[in-house]
C-alpha cells in the first residue's frame, strides 16, 4: 500500500503555453515515489523537457501544482526554495556545455556546494569522495572539461548533482549524447547509486530501450499530454495507447506487428481537436475528433488516455455519448 509519504514529487495538471502558441504541457500530472525511477518518453516537442524544467523551477507553469516532499515547490522563495533545490538536482544532456569550460571540474562541483552553504573546509574531501564514487579519480577534479571524454564528463555531472545529497535527480537525456559502449557504464552507475543512496530519478529520454531498462514506471507523452502511464514491464509488453504501440513498433529491430504512424506530427502550435494523436492514429473514430480522452485506468496500474479504452465502448461496442468516468489521475496505487 502506498502512503502519502512515499510520494516525493507530486505534480498535478501542469499547463504551459509558450508565446508562440505552443502548448508544451497540457494537463501533465506525475508522481515520483521515494527510491523509484519514473521514465518519461516521447518524441521531440512532446513537452518532456518543459515538464522537467517546471519541476526544477526553471520555468513557471501557467497553472497546476507541484509539491516536493510535501512542500509547495511553486510558492517557495528565498531560503525555502534553496533548501528544496538542494534536494532536487539535475543531470543535463550535454556535459560539454553544462560545465564552465574555463573552470576545472573541481571548481564546478564546488560551486554547487557553495550555493548550498557547505562549509568550505570540507569541500576538498567531499569532491574527492564524489569523484571516486562515480568512477573517476581525484586527479580528474583538476582537469578542464575539454581534457575529458564525454563519458567522464557525464560522470562528473553526476558527481556534481550528488554533491548536495539530493533526493530526486532529474536526468534530462542524460545518456543520449554518449557512445553506446559508454552509455552502459553510466546507466549501471545510475542504478548502483540509486540502490546505495535510495535516490529517485525522473529519467527523461527519447530512447525507448534505455527508458525501459532504467525505469520502474514510464510515462508516455505526446504533444504536451500524458497519453499513457504504466509499469515499465506492462508498457513494453502490453502497451495500451495507440501512440505507445506505434512508438514501440517503430524502434528498429522490433519484431512484432508493425504499426507505422500515419503521416507527420502535427504543428504543436495548432494541435488537433479532441485527441491530439487522432491525425496519426490507425484506430481513429468520430468521437476522437470532438472529445478529448482522459487518462483512465486500463488495467491495474496502467493508465491510458484513449477512447478505445472506454469501458462502455469495450463492453457494448457503441455509445458515442458515453464519457469516461475515471478522473484525471496519475497513478496513486499499484
Amino acid at each position: 500500500m502506498i502512503t502519502r509519504s512515499d510520494v516525493l514529487l507530486d505534480a498535478t495538471d501542469l499547463q504551459k503555453t509558450f508565446g508562440n502558441g505552443v502548448r508544451a504541457a497540457d494537463g501533465v500530472s506525475l508522481q515520483v515515489r521515494r527510491g523509484e525511477t519514473l521514465g518519461v518518453v516521447g518524441e521531440s516537442g512532446c513537452g518532456k523537457s518543459t515538464t522537467a524544467k517546471m519541476i526544477l523551477r526553471l520555468l513557471k507553469p501557467d497553472s497546476g501544482t507541484i509539491t516536493f516532499g510535501g512542500q509547495n515547490l511553486l510558492s517557495a522563495t528565498g531560503s525555502d526554495l534553496r533548501a528544496l533545490r538542494r534536494r532536487l538536482q539535475l543531470v543535463p544532456q550535454n556535459p560539454q556545455t553544462s560545465f564552465n569550460p574555463r573552470l576545472i571540474i573541481r571548481s564546478s562541483i564546488e560551486f554547487n556546494l557553495r550555493a548550498h552553504n557547505y562549509a568550505r573546509s570540507g569541500w576538498r574531501d567531499r569532491v574527492d569522495g564524489l569523484l571516486t564514487r562515480v568512477g573517476l579519480t581525484a586527479e580528474h577534479g583538476d582537469s578542464f572539461p575539454h581534457e575529458m571524454s564525454g563519458g567522464q564528463l557525464q560522470r562528473a555531472a553526476i558527481a556534481r548533482a550528488l554533491a548536495t545529497d539530493p533526493e530526486l535527480v532529474v536526468c534530462d537525456e542524460a545518456v543520449s549524447a554518449l557512445d553506446k559502449s559508454v552509455q552502459a557504464q553510466v546507466l549501471n552507475l545510475l542504478a548502483d547509486l540509486q540502490q546505495e543512496l535510495g535516490i529517485s530519478y525522473l529519467f527523461i529520454s527519447h530512447d525507448l530501450s534505455v527508458v525501459e531498462h532504467i525505469s520502474d514506471r514510464v510515462l508516455v507523452m505526446y504533444l504536451g499530454r500524458v497519453v499513457e502511464e504504466a509499469s515499465a514491464e506492462t508498457l513494453y509488453t502490453a502497451p495500451g495507447h495507440p501512440y505507445t504501440r506505434t512508438l514501440l513498433s517503430s524502434a528498429p529491430g522490433y519484431t512484432g506487428e508493425h504499426l507505422p504512424p500515419q503521416g507527420e506530427p502535427p504543428n504543436p502550435a495548432d494541435p488537433p481537436s479532441g485527441c491530439v494523436f487522432r491525425t496519426r492514429c490507425p484506430w481513429v473514430m468520430d468521437r476522437c475528433v470532438t472529445e478529448r480522452p482522459l487518462l483512465g485506468v486500463a488495467k491495474q496500474a496502467q493508465y491510458v488516455a484513449c477512447h478505445l479504452n472506454d469501458p462502455h465502448l469495450r463492453d457494448t461496442t457503441i455509445s458515442s455519448s458515453s464519457v469516461l468516468t475515471e478522473p484525471i489521475t496519475s497513478s496513486s496505487d499499484s
Binding site: 518524441e43 559502449s181 559508454v182 552502459a184 546507466l187 549501471n188 542504478a191 548502483d192
Partner: protein, 350 residues
C-alpha cells in the same frame, strides 16, 4: 514511375557480382597542431548494385571520414591514399572538375542534418530543380519543376506542390530529410552515401525514412553506403556491415553473421552493452574505458586496452582481418586463431 526508367534500372544478375564501388586500402590523415592524425587506416570494402553496406562505429571511429573521403569532401588539409574505384574510375586521381560533375550525379550524399544542408533562404523546389539543371538532367525550368515534383512524391511527400513552394523552416525534420533524399536521388546515382541520416530524427520518423531507403533501393537499384552509430539501425537495413573502431574496419561481413555471430571482441562487447528487455537494472555489460580519440596511434590492437580477451601479443602486434567464413572477416587473432578454429565463446546456435 518514370524515375525507374534509368540507366541503372537494368540490373542483370551479373552486376550483382561486380561491385559498383570498390574501396581499397583507404587511409585518410589530417595535420592537427603540426602532427599527423590518421583518422582512417587501411579501409577496404566493396559495394554492389542494390546492396546496403553499413559502416557501424562510435564517435571518432572514422566512419564519417571514410564516407567523406570517398566523395572527396575531406578538405584540403587531408591526405588520402589508397583507391576508390567507382566502376573503372579512380576517384582519388580524378581531376576536380570531373569529380564535381560526378558528385551529385553518379554518387550522392544524404547528410545527417538537413537543416544544415538545405539553403534556408530558398524554396525547397528550387533547390531540387537546381541540381537537375546543373547536371543537365532537365534543360528547361518547367521540365526541372515537373521532375522535382515527381521526386518529391517519390520520397513520400504527400502534397508535392505545397512542399515545392515551401522554405525549409516550414517543414518538419522528417520532411526536410525526405527533401534531402529527393535531392540526392535526383540524378539517380549509382551510389548513395548516407551519413547518420536518421540520427536527428524521432524514432517514428526514423522508421519511415529507413523504409523509404529500402523502397528507393528496390526501385532504383542504388547501392547504399550508410554510416551510423546505431546497431539497431544497422540490423534493420544492412545487407553487410563493416564495424569500425579507431579508424579501422575490425569486422566485416553479412549483417546476419556479424550481428548475430560476431567474431571480434569489440563487436561482441558493443552488442552486449545494449539494454535489452528483461535485463536487470545495473547489469549492463559495459565496456570499460572509452573509445580512443580520433587519430590515436596504436602499436598493437587498438581495442586491446578495453578487451577482455586480450593477451600480451595484442599490445604489440597489430592484427589483420582474418577470414572466419566465406565473406566474414574479423581482425582478432585471439578469437579466430587457426589453433582455436571453432571459437565457442560467442557461437550462437544456428
Amino acid at each position: 514511375m518514370s524515375v525507374s526508367a534509368a540507366p541503372t534500372a537494368t540490373v542483370p544478375a551479373t552486376s550483382a557480382e561486380s561491385p559498383v564501388l570498390r574501396v581499397e586500402s583507404l587511409s585518410t590523415s589530417f595535420i592537427r597542431r603540426g602532427k599527423p592524425l590518421q583518422a582512417v587506416r587501411d579501409v577496404s570494402f566493396e559495394l554492389r548494385a542494390g546492396e546496403t553496406l553499413v559502416l557501424l562505429g562510435e564517435s571518432g571511429s572514422g566512419k564519417s571520414v571514410t564516407a567523406r573521403s570517398i566523395l572527396r569532401l575531406h578538405g584540403k588539409q587531408a591526405t588520402v591514399t589508397g583507391s576508390v574505384m567507382l566502376g573503372d574510375v579512380d576517384l582519388l586521381t580524378l581531376g576536380d572538375a570531373p569529380m564535381r560533375n560526378l558528385r551529385g550525379s553518379r554518387m550522392a550524399l544524404v547528410p545527417q542534418d538537413p537543416n544544415a544542408s538545405l539553403d534556408p533562404l530558398r524554396r525547397v523546389g528550387h533547390q531540387i530543380a537546381e541540381v537537375l539543371q546543373l547536371h543537365g538532367i532537365s534543360s528547361s525550368r518547367s521540365v526541372a519543376r515537373a521532375r522535382a515534383l515527381e521526386l518529391l512524391s517519390l520520397v513520400g511527400i504527400p502534397d508535392p506542390p505545397r512542399v515545392f513552394a515551401s522554405y525549409p523552416h516550414e517543414l518538419s525534420g522528417g520532411m526536410r530529410q525526405r527533401v534531402a533524399i529527393a535531392i540526392a536521388i535526383s540524378c539517380e546515382p549509382t551510389v548513395l552515401i548516407a551519413d547518420e541520416p536518421t540520427t536527428a530524427l524521432d524514432v517514428t520518423v526514423q522508421a519511415q525514412i529507413l523504409r523509404l531507403f529500402q523502397d528507393l533501393q528496390h526501385r532504383l537499384s542504388t547501392a547504399l553506403l550508410l554510416v551510423t552509430h546505431d546497431v539497431t539501425v544497422a540490423a534493420e537495413i544492412a545487407d553487410r556491415v563493416g564495424v569500425m573502431y579507431a579508424g579501422q574496419i575490425v569486422e566485416y561481413g553479412p549483417a546476419t553473421e556479424v550481428l548475430q555471430r560476431p567474431r571480434h571482441p569489440y563487436t561482441q562487447a558493443l552488442l552486449g552493452a545494449l539494454p535489452l528487455p528483461g535485463m536487470a537494472r545495473g547489469s549492463l555489460r559495459a565496456i570499460s574505458g572509452a573509445p580512443p580519440v580520433a587519430g590515436t596511434a596504436f602499436s598493437g590492437c587498438s581495442f586491446a586496452d578495453r578487451c577482455g580477451a586480450a593477451v600480451e601479443s595484442c599490445h604489440q602486434q597489430a592484427p589483420v582481418l582474418i577470414t572466419v567464413q566465406r565473406d566474414h572477416r574479423a581482425a582478432c587473432p585471439v578469437l579466430n586463431s587457426p589453433s582455436n578454429p571453432a571459437d565457442s565463446s560467442k557461437e550462437g546456435s544456428r
